[in-house]
Each structure stands twice: as C-alpha cells, then as structure tokens.
C-alpha cells in the first residue's frame, strides 16, 4: 500500500486530498454522507472579522462543465465560528485549515490572531481575492506588492502553516507565488476562480446579482493545471492544486504537474464524498503502478522533447 501521508510545513496530512474553501461549509453539513476523517484536510469557508450576509440572489448559475458563483463570502464571522463551529471541527480527525478573507491587511492580521489562540486550527489559508477597501475596491490578489505585504505581515503571527491562495486572473501567476515564497509563506494554493459572467437573454440582465462571478468546475481544469505547472516550476514551497478536480485521474494530473496536494471544490456539490473517492483512487493508481509513495508522483511530468507554449505558437 502506497504511502499517502504528506508533511505540509510540519503539519501531517493523512493524504494529499483536501476540500477547498467555500465548498464544504464548516465540515458538518456532509457528515451523513462522507467521513471527513478520510480526507487529508478540510479548509473552512473564508472567515472574516465580522459576519457577512453575502450577496443577494442569484448567487450561482451553471455553465458548460462548470458554474459561476458570487456568494459574497457569506460567513458567520470568526467569533461565531470559534464558538459554534470549531468544537465540531476539533472532534474531527483531520487537518483543519482556516481560510481568512479580509478587506484590509489589519483585518487579516486580526482574524489570524483570534484563530491562532484557539485549539483545533492546524493552519491558515489566506484568500487574497477580496477587494481592498483601502485601495478603492481593487482586489489584493491582482497586486503582487499587496500579496507580498499581506504575507509579510501575517508570517510573524503564527508558526503554523501559512498558505496563500492565488487568483488566476493575472498575467504572470508565478510572480505572485515567488512573492509569497519570498516573504516566508509556507505554500501557495492555486487557483481560485476565474472571473466569468452569464446573461439571461430573455430579460437582458446579468444572471448573477453581482454581474460577474467566479467560474469553477471541470471547465477550468486545463487552466488550473497550466497555472499549477507554471507556479510549481517557479517556487520551492509546496503548491496545492485546485480547479475542476472531480476524479482521481484529474488529481493525478495536478500531482504530476507539480502540486504536492490537491483541493476539491465544486465536485463536492455533486458528491460530498468526491474527495474521499479521489484519495482512494490516487492510492489505487500508485498500488497498480508500483509507486511506494504518492509523493514521488509530485512534479514527475515527463516533458520529453516537448516545448512549452512560450517557445511555440498558438
């Protein structure tokens, strides 16, 4: 049986499959259908300092092979999270990573400080795809200096793994990953959703109340994989691959491209046990192919004589 566990900046994960922020609630909703103890880790919905009610309907719409969402980071706020949801998460035998969203650097720090003082949080993932209220609504995530700054400010506040989750909506995602690495971030999560849009042609209105939203699901898998490949070649810290992963075969592509672990998002909506099945499938693949440690797959892509697109023409 292949070794599946993985040490993420000192944190032992049972396997390399986590559930992604915003796609598994706080871990308790799916308990009837999937045992979280079989996951490598569970990442919470983004937590902000104050509760956020989220955006008005419509918040989601299906697209070809994917979906758009504009949830608006609806969450109960870090204080209620600690009081109402953390006790359950403490009882679950899997790594729990708290995802943090904020609109000022100070707010990121504050939320992290609150959580750092609590038992049951094993690490942090920083969602930088939020608008910076200081800079007039421009998202932090598309500003490399801002991402570096957030990492620098958060790093001293915790010894636990500090992950930064990058947005794909930039020209050179690897620059952002290098900025995180440079400031002592332990890992990067790649990718958050792509900006997308849908229109109801009967009413000529946007389907989503926010006009645009975030595209996720199988449709974005090829883009996510290319971003992971780009990032993994540019930094030494681990990369967590995310985007459209539904099957073990999808996850294997990410590992082979250079991800040290993967996160399952939209697929949970179809099957809350998707992550568990993906983990089992990865193990089966390794056993069938005589691979003793899942880790040896990471970055094992054989590009042969292949030249990257930068050297060729689309």
């Amino acid at each position: 049986m292949a070794r599946t566990s993985f040490l993420l900046a000192g944190l032992e994960l049972k396997n390399r499959v986590l559930v992604a922020s915003g796609t598994y609630g706080y871990g308790d909703d799916c308990i009837d259908m999937a045992d979280p103890a079989k996951l490598g880790g569970l990442i919470t919905k983004s937590l902000s300092l104050k509760p956020r009610v989220g955006n008005p309907p419509v918040r989601i719409v299906e697209t070809a092979g994917g979906m758009l969402n504009s949830i608006g980071l609806a969450n109960i706020g870090v204080h209620r999270f600690v009081k109402e949801r953390l006790p359950f998460l403490r009882s679950v035998d899997t790594a729990v990573i708290a995802n943090i969203a904020a609109s000022t650097v100070e707010e990121y720090c504050e939320v992290l400080r609150i959580l750092e003082g609590e038992d049951g949080i094993d690490g942090f993932e920083i969602n930088v795809s939020c608008p910076n209220v200081m800079e007039g609504g421009l998202t932090f995530g598309t500003n490399c200096g801002a991402v570096a700054d957030i990492t620098r400010r958060l790093r001293p506040l915790t010894k636990k793994p500090l992950l930064v989750k990058l947005t794909p909506n930039v020209t050179h995602i690897a620059e952002f990953a290098r900025a995180v690495e440079g400031e002592g971030g332990d890992a990067v999560s790649v990718i958050n959703t792509l900006i997308g849009m849908a229109i109801d042609v009967r009413t000529r209105k946007p389907v989503l109340s926010t006009v645009t939203g975030g595209l996720s699901g199988p449709a974005i898998k090829p883009v996510a994989l290319a971003k992971v490949y780009e990032v993994a070649r540019s930094v030494r810290i681990p990369v967590l691959g995310i985007g459209g992963i539904t099957t073990a075969s999808d996850a294997l592509e990410f590992l082979i491209a250079g991800a040290s672990a993967v996160q399952i998002g939209t697929a949970n909506f179809v099957d809350p046990a998707a992550g568990i099945k993906v983990a089992a499938g990865i193990e089966r693949y390794c056993d069938e192919n005589g691979i003793a440690d899942v880790g040896s797959l990471v970055g094992s892509l054989d590009v042969g004589k292949g030249v990257s697109i930068l050297d060729s023409w689309l």
């Binding site: 259908m33 955006n55 419509v58 989601i60 299906e62």
Partner: protein, 261 residues
C-alpha cells in the same frame, strides 16, 4: 447541520417514466432507504446524467412514495429534465436525499390543512395529504394551472380547481378561488401549505396574513448543492436586519413569518 432525517446518496433503479399531463412526466425509481425517510415537502437531488454537462444535481420534490418506489413529477424545461424524460426502466439514477426541511405537519393548534398548489407546485401535495390524514386533520385542496391539460390532480382529495383560461373549474387564479371559498366557508383552526410560482406564493401569503392563518410555503430557485455547503440559495429573512436563510437547508418550506416574500 441538518437535524431532519439522515441524508444519503443511493443508486436507484428507474421504474419508469409516465405521462401525468400534457408535457408533464412522472419518473419513478426505487430506494428502500430514501423512501423510508422522506417527509412531505422534502426534496431529492438527482444526478440526471453521468456527465460534466449538466454538471450539478437537479432538485425535485418528492411527489409519491409507494413502498420502496419514489416518484417525482416534472416538465421538460432544460437539458436535465429532458434527460429525465428519456430514462428507461432499469437505468440507474444517482439520487441524494431526503433533503431540506419538511412541511411542519406536527405543529399543534390546527385542525384543517389547506393545501394550495399552482402548476407543478402540486408536487409535494400528495405526500402532504397522506400525512395530514394520518394525523387526523381535515384536508382541503386548491389546485391551479394555466389550462386544464396541464392540471395534475392525482392522489389529491377532491381538489377545488382553478384554471387561468377557464377550461376547467374556476376561471381565475387558485388564490382567488381559495380566498373566496375560505371566506365563504371558514374552516376550524386552519393552516395553509402552499407551493407554486413566487407570485402565487406572495398572493397566498398576503391572504394568510390578512386572515391571520398560519402559513407555510415551499420555495424554488437555483441550487448548487442542496445541502448547505455552497451558500448558493439565499432567501431573505424577515426582520429589519438584512439576513439570508438557505433555501436548501432552512427550507425549501418556510413559515411565512420567517422570510420576506
């Protein structure tokens, strides 16, 4: 956490698809586990195809339970429902359920259930009828539809009928019919259970408020997961502070006092 019946995913053999009205179909499949625990007003989330397009499950009210067999009723509005129509006996259907908050039939303090259904909002009413009768309540049913051909009156108890075009029963909306009838013949300690298009539910709510009758409505709208993990199905709650409940988890049935409708 959902504190109703345990939810599960079951691969259910399809029993068949039959016609239940003009352009209206009923799909039945069997699941011992799910059929046992479904309660009126709850829904099932169907994976209509093993495909990445359509990607998400499709929610349908539990329409009928007969032994192990569960039936849902639908009309073809898109690719998901088109695929459902094409199912054949023996096909396997991936069903998640039972989901959501059922109608609150066990509340004390009412003697008669008033059931109001508009269009395919009839779907949860047959199960609700059986439940109410088991609990010894009086059941009075009002059913509305665009036209007679799309009325689905099966498994209901002597429904009062309204059609928009007057092709059967009362010529007008089901809410007009229900309010006129109930004002003329008041019932003892009534409680309203309604399901249908939002404008109809608004009219029902207005009537219930005016008459001071307790009222629950079953809502419908886009859903991502059906189990509370995507936050994709907000329903604005009553009260001054802006807040949202989740249609899939806190609903789909809501007491009208708890939401803005």
């Amino acid at each position: 956490m959902n504190d109703h019946s345990k939810m599960m995913i079951d691969l259910c053999p399809v029993e068949g698809v039959r016609t239940a009205g003009e352009g209206i179909f009923a799909l039945s499949f069997s699941s011992a586990a799910i059929s046992r625990s479904v309660r009126p007003g709850q829904f099932l989330n169907l994976r209509v195809e093993e495909s990445r397009d359509p990607l998400l499950r499709r929610p349908f009210s539990a329409y009928r339970i007969d032994g192990n067999v569960i039936e849902v009723v639908f009309n073809v509005v898109g690719r998901g429902t088109a695929a459902m129509r094409g199912k054949k006996k023996g096909d396997l259907l991936d069903v998640m359920g039972p989901l959501g908050r059922p109608f609150d039939t066990v509340s004390l303090g009412y003697d008669s259930g008033i059931l109001i259904g508009g269009g395919l909002g009839v779907a949860p009413l047959p199960l609700l009828t059986s439940s109410l009768k088991k609990e010894g309540k009086q059941v009075v049913t009002f059913l509305g539809a665009r036209t007679s051909a799309v009325l689905v009156t099966e498994y209901l108890q002597d429904p009062h009928i309204a059609t928009d075009d007057g092709t059967r029963g009362f010529h007008g909306t089901v809410v007009d019919l229900a309010s006129a009838t109930l004002r003329a013949h008041p019932l003892s300690r009534p409680r309203i259970f309604a399901c249908g298009p939002t404008p109809m539910l608004r009219a029902v709510a207005a009537f219930a408020r005016a008459e001071g009758i307790p009222c629950e409505v079953s809502l419908e709208g886009p859903m991502g997961c059906g189990i509370g993990i995507c936050q994709g199905c907000p329903v604005e709650t009553a009260g001054d502070e802006k807040r949202y409940a989740l249609m899939c988890k806190d609903g789909p049935t809501f007491d009208i006092r708890t939401i803005k409708i």
